[in-house]
């Protein structure tokens, strides 16, 4: 056997350049993705609109006989100003009970985004755990979980959404979050959306864990006596991160759309809390008479979902391990 003579001098130039970490490569590819950057910009704009904007909305509430700001203005109704078209005092017009649509779009946007992000997170948690547990344990656990997954995939998603939101309807108490008072139906909607959307991710995660669990490092971990839970959470799931991240991102878009559908059908967030979805409920009756009622919440949903989809598309390309070679 001929050994390569070790060089005495460590020549920096002779060494191959340090390969970039996968995360750095992914980030570089993401930045090059033009649509993804447009999407990021759109999301940033919407996020700034609903946060910074909420600090500035104000007006004179005739019901309370005083100037009010923030959410109180968004919920202040003035029956003398019903369905006013957009003007300089009401930028987006007013709704059927005379509330400022501009302020409601801002505060509704906060809730819609909150619902989108929370539902996607919950969806990812349920989906990855179900998928990983099914694949890791196999046998009857796998059988039961996957039959359940298939069963839920067989029901049209909108019907499932309706059935499950009826099931949980009005059963959760009100909550306070960041100084905002939210009706329990916000939590119900988050739960319902997550419970109707985890199935695809569960299948993806299951497929990739099935192949990962046969790897040597997993056997090694098991031989060392590492607990099942630790193997799943520190060895298996992190290696399926790419599909999880993409699903989580696109899940936000789906959740915002689902919230809009459920609310449109009158099963969504109830009470004074505005969301983009429940602002649209009943607005279609004023198709001709007051198009601003449905136009503005709809265009914001469209912009947000479009932004999320662009970003998701960029992430999918950036995280695709098969494509890592080209950089």
């Amino acid at each position: 056997m001929t050994a390569i003579a070790p060089s005495n001098r460590l020549d920096a130039e002779a060494l191959p350049p340090q390969p970039a970490s996968p995360a750095a490569v992914a980030w570089r590819r993401f930045q090059r993705h033009r649509l993804a950057m447009v999407g990021m910009f759109m999301l940033l704009a919407v996020a700034l609109f609903v946060t910074i904007g909420s600090l500035f909305v104000h007006g004179y509430c005739s019901g309370l006989k005083q100037d009010v700001i923030g959410e109180r203005w968004a919920n202040c109704n003035d029956t003398s100003q019903i369905r006013q078209p957009p003007s300089s005092s009401y930028l987006f017009g007013t709704d059927s009970v005379g509330r400022d649509l501009f302020a409601r779009v801002i505060f509704g946007g906060q809730i819609s985004l909150l619902i989108g992000v929370c539902a996607a997170l919950l969806e990812v948690i349920v989906g990855s755990i179900v998928g990983a547990v099914a694949a890791y344990y196999g046998g009857w656990v796998d059988n039961v979980l996957m039959r359940l997954t298939e069963a839920m995939l067989n029901i049209p998603s909108l019907f499932l959404l309706i059935v499950i939101s009826k099931f949980f309807g009005g059963s959760l108490p009100d909550i306070n979050l960041f100084g905002r008072h939210l009706t329990g139906s916000v939590a119900v909607i988050i739960l319902v959306i997550a419970l109707t959307s985890w199935m695809y991710l569960a299948r993806i995660v299951r497929a990739s864990v099935l192949s990962l669990r046969e790897r040597d490092y997993v056997s090694a971990a098991r031989a060392l006596g590492v607990s099942d839970r630790r193997i799943i959470f520190t060895h298996l799931l992190p290696n399926t991160l790419a599909p999880i991240v993409v699903t989580a991102t696109l899940g936000v878009a789906n959740a915002i759309l689902s919230e809009a559908y459920v609310s449109f059908l009158g099963l969504g967030v109830t009470g004074a809390t505005a969301t983009w979805g429940n602002m649209l409920e009943g607005a279609y009756r004023y198709l001709e008479a007051a198009p601003w009622l449905w136009f503005f919440p709809g265009i914001l949903i469209l912009l947000t979902v479009l932004g999320v989809n662009f970003v998701g598309d960029g992430l999918r390309d950036a995280l695709d391990p098969g494509g890592l070679k080209d950089l």
Binding site: I155, L280, L287, G298, L302, L306
Partner: protein, 343 residues
């Protein structure tokens, strides 16, 4: 092949059982069906008690499920409320083809469904044809003209298409083609129902009323599916056999039709095949906006009134169709692609 079909059908039995248990459990929270039985006036206390016994709602949930599944003609129902069973029930159960009686119309559930199903299928099938033609045309065109200006515009529009809430698209279409076209004195389209009650039903009326709902249904699907066709077409166009076909001197049209298209269409067949069963469900949102009397609206109306026999029938019918069409899709796929063995 036969073994494959039989195995799949046997697998479907437990699957459908799980779905039915799951749905029946969820139905329990739909509210009180008796409260709305008499229309607006709530029933008197003694009527309520009698109706509860009559419908078997006094039984535990698992017994109600057993009645739904296997009927109650083998069980002594307690009609007079003395706690002792006296009369056998009259239901034969789903397993023997009895889907029960609607709590709203008091008609057999299947009659209610048969009233609505043709309307839904009419809308859905026409929509599906538009989807297939539209997404194939657009997908192939953008694959052949990749990264040109038109392709980029199509990409942007498709993203906008599947990011749009379906009802918002419907409202925009109505606003442009019904409201504003009338305002501008152009020929405008109707927005509600299947025909104008003043004119009466006729084919041309029906077609006119279908334009906007079909457009709503298909535009969003076309946006998604044309991307799919585009990427599978690009995959195929990069294959060696396409280069071979070109090298042996086939015309571009022939390469496209004989070699590229046939292979690129395979995944698309799966997509459409798995879509078809959901046509039975109808397009809930589209049907409610355009007041189209179909299955989706039936489902919504009956949800409000906790008519669980109808809801269960609709949902189970779709589930059976899904299982069936998955099987059909696999068979068609193996027929189109001889490399796939079903065993």
């Amino acid at each position: 092949m036969t073994a494959f079909v039989i195995r799949r059908l046997l697998q479907a039995v437990p699957q459908l059982f799980i779905i039915s248990v799951l749905l029946f459990g969820l139905m329990q929270a739909f509210g009180d069906p008796i409260a709305t039985l008499g229309g607006r006036t709530p029933p008197r206390a003694e009527d309520r008690e009698r109706l509860t016994r009559l419908l078997g709602l006094d039984q535990p949930v698992w017994m109600q499920y057993a009645f739904w599944l296997a009927g109650n003609d083998w069980f002594m129902m307690d009609r007079d409320g003395d706690g002792i069973g006296d009369t056998p029930g009259g239901r034969r159960g789903v397993l023997r083809g009895d889907w029960g009686t609607s709590l709203v119309t008091r008609k057999p559930v299947m009659e209610d469904i048969a009233d609505r199903l043709p309307n839904t299928l009419l809308l859905g099938l026409v929509g599906e044809i538009v989807i297939i033609i539209g997404s194939l045309t657009i997908g192939i065109y953008s694959a052949l003209n990749r990264y040109t200006f038109v392709d980029n515009v199509i990409t942007a529009l498709s993203f906008a298409g599947f990011s749009m809430p379906v009802f918002w698209l419907a409202l925009m279409l109505m606003y442009i083609f019904a409201v504003n076209f009338r305002r501008w004195g152009l020929p405008y389209l109707p927005t509600v129902g299947m025909f104008d009650p003043d004119v009466g039903p006729s084919l041309s009326e029906l077609l006119r009323h279908m334009v906007l709902p079909v457009a709503t249904l298909s535009l969003i699907s076309i946006a998604g599916y044309s991307r799919y066709v585009r990427s599978s077409m690009l995959d195929v166009l990069g294959q060696d056999y396409i280069r071979t076909a070109k090298a042996k001197g086939l015309t571009a049209v022939k390469v496209l039709r004989k070699h590229a298209l046939q292979n690129a269409a395979l995944p698309f067949v799966t997509l459409i095949g798995l879509d078809l069963p959901f046509l039975l469900a109808g397009a809930t949102v589209t049907e409610s906006i355009f007041a189209w009397p179909g299955m989706g609206r039936l489902f919504l109306e009956r949800t409000d009134r906790a008519d669980y026999p109808t809801l269960m029938a609709i949902l189970m019918m779709i589930s059976i169709a899904v299982v069936f069409f998955q099987l059909i899709t696999d068979l068609v796929y193996s027929f189109l692609d001889p490399r796939i063995r079903l065993d």
